[in-house]
Amino acid sequence: MKSGKDKQISLHDAVEKYLPNGSSFSFGGLGARDPFAIAFEMIRQEKKDLTMITASGMDIANIVIGAGCIRKVEGAYVWIGSVGSGLNYRRAVEKGIPVKVETEEYSNYAASLRFLAGSMNIPFMATRSMLGSDIPKYNNKIKLMDDPYTGEPVALVSAANPDVAFIHVQKADLSGNGQIWGILMNDPTIARAAKSVVITCEEIVSTQEIRKMSNLTAIPGYTVDAVVQVPFCSHPMWTAGYYWCDLPFRRNFMLYNKSQETFEQWVKEWVLDTGSWQGYLDKLGQDRLNKLMQMERDNYQIPEFKA
């Protein structure tokens, strides 16, 4: 296991140490718990030639693609959901702006199964998805075979073991035991599949607090290399029990990502000139952050236990 009573490091060091240029990585979350603070740090450190392994990616994926960090996407979807189009991804794939991006195409389930196989240390996983479609035609890592038991056709996908996974959780202890409320995506599985794991969290809690609700620990500390406490780490997205999605911020981003030039203005303003995640939060302002928190907690609060 990855042993250690205190695995805290800084946001800067987490990205510098675990994400060398040319490596592969995964983000936890999707729409909720996306680790934006990590993505911004990647941009500040001018990371490049990275492979992003994912099921679906939204705003955060487009931003690191637009910033030129990514060479390859192994995944199923890059867009901005119902908020808008994935213009950074489009420019990168269609025209190589700012960097040509190659896609290794899967479905969400197939991409998830690659993490599951990776987490189990088995070389492949079978599925009945993608049969009959053109996805295997354009991705020769998907192998079609006849099941040796029944003779039925199945598709095989290979294990994914990203070099590092960055996973944001609500609460973690110093060893990296992480507890998640709300959507999980594939995060418990990705934590096991990745060679290194960096946990960001809204709050550091005692190990005793973790033990109170053993059935809720989603990320085992024994898979975790580093822990970074980063409040509001997922802004402008959601984190259940902590803050609501900042939809105006996302929609305004859509105005800027219409061209590479205006996108880069946005990056300068929000990522580079702010200097740090704290600088970014300061620019947003405490009143805005408080309101996002209020909007969330008016609707959902992490249950507290009676003593």
Binding site: S56, A76, E105, A110, N252, L255, K291, E296
Partner: protein, 284 residues
């Protein structure tokens, strides 16, 4: 009682609602399909449960999700799964229906959401689209699929990339490919509803929206479209159904109202707060 006035989007949402049967477990996308699900859940499909790709099952919220894994998708949920587990449940046959869309469709209901390749290549296409997301999985394994998409130049003889399987090349081809689900049963557009012939598995025009002609539909379809011998008029929204829509989405955001101006955060805060404070949840 049928309503007298409604928008095309509202009609589409209600058509989508009518596809959903009571007691179904339904994979529902964001926007119009979700509104269809919410209408169904409050009218004829009270025992149906709605699931999102992010893993939330049966969530109930005073808030409207803007993506398939937003907090509201998991709020007050019956359960929350990892994504692989939810799709596994789909592959195992537990999910009766999925609602998906596409940029291109052919007469067998095969969908393209990967790339408009045109005269270029898959690697550098004319238009790169989002990719499958979960659509391929839903189209492969859910009991049946309802397709919601614009009737426009995307209705073509041959799509550039089969992202999500419809009836592939016709009768028997899904089974031969090894697919679990029965495939698409309806295509809801802004002009009409198409269904699939039981024998040929080919799409045919089944019902028209008010004021739309058969010829207007044929003009948009890139193959020799089959027409039902008894083309119906779609069932339009009831007053009750419209009321549900207007209560849940007073500003029409779910059905696609967008702004191109810089938005003010404090206005957003007030708007959202008023909206969720006006909703009362019945958690059963």
């Amino acid at each position: 009682m049928l309503a007298e006035k409604f928008t095309t989007k509202e009609l589409m949402a209600v058509c989508c609602a009518h596809e959903i049967k009571n007691g179904e477990l339904v994979f529902v996308g964001i926007g119009l399909p979700m509104m269809g699900g919410l209408v169904a859940a409050k009218t004829h499909a009270k025992d149906s449960i709605f699931v999102y790709e992010g893993g939330g099952v049966g969530g109930m919220s005073r808030r409207v999700p803007w993506s398939i894994a937003d907090n509201p998708t998991a709020e007050n949920a019956l359960m929350i799964h990892e994504m692989w587990r939810l799709f596994s449940d789909g592959q195992a046959g537990y999910i009766n229906r999925g609602v998906i869309g596409g940029a291109q469709i052919d007469k067998f209901g095969n969908l393209n959401t990967t790339a408009i390749i045109g005269d270029k290549s898959y690697a550098s296409p004319v238009v790169r689209l989002p990719g499958s997301g979960g659509a391929n999985d839903i189209a492969s394994s859910c009991g049946e699929t309802t397709i919601v998409m614009q009737l426009d130049k995307g209705f073509v003889e041959k799509i550039d990339f089969i992202t999500s399987p419809g009836h592939l090349t016709g009768p028997g081809s899904r089974k031969k490919a090894g697919l679990v689900g029965r495939g698409p049963s309806a295509v809801i557009t802004q002009k009409c509803i198409f269904r699939f012939d039981e024998q040929t598995k080919e799409m045919y025009l089944d019902a028209l929206f008010p004021g739309v002609t058969i010829e207007a539909v044929k003009a948009q379809v890139g193959w020799n479209l089959q027409i039902s011998p008894n083309v119906k008029a779609v069932v339009t929204p009831t007053v009750e159904e419209l009321e549900i829509i207007h209560t849940l989405d007073p500003k029409g955001i779910m059905l696609g109202a967008k702004s191109d101006d810089e938005e003010d955060f404090n206005e957003f805060f007030q708007l959202m707060k008023q909206a969720y404070e006006a909703v009362e949840l019945d958690l059963g």
